[in-house]
Amino acid sequence: MSLATMDGAISEEQRSPSAQVSIRNVTKVFPGKKGFFNKLTGKASSNFTAIEEISMEIEPNTFVTIIGPSGCGKSTLLNMIAGLMPITGGDILLNGEPITGPGPDRGMVFQNYALMPWMTVAENIRFAVETVDPKISAKRRDRIIKEHIQLVGLTGAEKKHPHELSGGMRQRVGIARALAINPQILLMDEPFGALDALTRGFLQDEIERIWEQQRKTVIMITHSIEEALLLSDRIVMMTRGPAARVDEILEIPFPRPRNRETIEQYPAYSGLKAEMERHLFRETRAVEEARIGGKK
């Protein structure tokens, strides 16, 4: 069985010189409310360690999925890579340079699409393109917009506003907007979490198709085991929070392009799936037991 496992913490010699994203001993602590006044009003709370000492190296042109029980700090990690949230300890390097804030080298796809309701499909993409490159010529800008609307299969819907689109179509716009700025890395935070199963399947196929075309580095958060197996080169399984860590990293060896009908026929598929299910069940059960215990 080609099941490569690694220890969560990467030691010095395991650091890859070719890595595009290096996450090194990253810790995130949300400070609690302290001080006399908060104690007086009963609002005092202790520090919350969301993730602790997480390390991983992400090579260029790989599709990495992060999976873990609810509340394990997956989104926190992604937001720190996006630069939307400060890092408490450790470093996140992008091409060897530490991340200090958000930037157009990383494109983000949001769970709730985050489209501007007052902008049309084309205007949403145009906002992204013009923000990243304010001096872009109108001709080039319009070509980029057109190409990306075409890429996600929304030609004809350019002048529609988000509220006139279905959830799946909205997320297509979200993906087009993230790709239109030509980022090195695509970050996706449960991009299909709010969609029904059928639409989800359609969009997974779209992502697989687009990824074959562009082969950008992708870091995606998901709850779905099948989704992770269909799309990823590597699956990072995180333990439950607080102080979540990387439990195991699975290499997914299936050849591309992949197809949801045939992927299950690979002999390794069921083993990987069972491995992930075991992990998720164990962690989720522990989360629930801790919650019941905490209420007593």
Binding site: G83, G107, M108, F110, P117, T131, E164
Partner: protein, 279 residues
């Protein structure tokens, strides 16, 4: 209720009697019926002396309403102006005071809403001044300006500034974090974020603030004008001095209709900036 009854019930509203069953038509029918009953009660009551002495009949009031609205613009001296002139005077005062208030309230609200510190720091002023009755400002206005016209505008300004200010600040402070994250990940400048994201995102709140402010301005002007001379408020005051009740009722009706029209304009605007958001 059995299942078969329920299913036949849902099948019936098709075909020619669907108009009679439609909600809009039934509401309109009920409205006309209640209006007819009310006018009948009024007419009979006034003729039989059920109400206060000198209360006009419904027919007399409607006759006056028809006369005033078909002869809106005449001038027979300052105390005998057509209701159209008075309406225009009131509208002009409201427009000036309201526009001044909006020009101050919207930018100030945006500034306050953007900064959580400013939001907390200025909230006490707003909360303190908002519940003050507009008429309480009247003596102060008269003392400062020594001019009834300016005082009227001042009263409108001071009373219609708060809803717009509060709603704008609230809308700006509550802009969906996802929109800000989008702007942030793209590296948008502060100015671009404010003009392209925050203001459009808060626009539904701003417009509902403007709508409430307009309603208040229209409420206040009538009360203020009773003490100022000219305008619809003064018209009512003048007819009270003449003790001619039908004209007071006519003015009430005109004020109500104009208020309804103004509110509808803003309801339309709210819809135009909502883009599927319900606020």
């Amino acid at each position: 209720m059995t299942v078969s009854e329920a299913s036949t019930g849902s099948l019936i509203p098709e075909g020619r009697d669907s108009l009679l069953k439609s909600e809009g038509f039934r509401a309109f029918a009920l409205f006309m019926l209640s209006l007819g009953l009310f006018l009948l009660f009024w007419e009979v009551g006034a003729r039989s002396g059920w109400f206060a002495k000198g209360m006009p009949t419904a027919s007399k009031t409607l006759e006056e309403f028809w006369w005033w609205t078909t002869n809106p613009f005449f001038r027979n001296g300052p105390n005998d102006l057509g209701i159209g002139w008075n309406l225009l005077v009131s509208l002009r005062r409201v427009a000036i005071g309201y526009l001044l208030a909006s020009v101050v309230a919207v930018p100030l609200g945006i500034l306050i809403g953007i900064s959580p510190i400013a939001y907390k720091a200025f909230n006490p002023y707003v909360q303190l001044l908002k519940p003050v009755s507009p008429l309480a400002w009247l003596p102060l206005g008269l003392y400062i300006f020594r001019d009834s016209e300016l005082t009227g505008v001042f009263i409108i300004f001071i009373s219609s500034i708060w809803p717009t200010l509060i709603n704008t600040a609230f809308g700006v402070a509550g802009v969906d974090k996802d929109y800000l994250d989008v702007a942030n990940t793209l590296g948008a400048s502060r100015m671009r974020t404010i003009f392209k994201v925050i203001i459009p995102a808060a626009l539904p709140n701003i417009v509902s603030g403007l709508r409430v402010s307009m309603g208040i301005a229209w409420l206040v002007i009538v009360a203020a004008e009773m003490l100022l001379g000219t305008g619809l408020g003064y018209f009512i005051w003048n007819e009270w001095n003449n003790l001619y009740i039908p004209n007071i009722l006519v003015a009430i009706l005109v004020i109500g209709l104009v208020g309804l029209l103004l509110d509808n304009i803003f309801a339309f605007l709210e819809k135009a900036v909502a883009f599927g958001r319900n606020s």
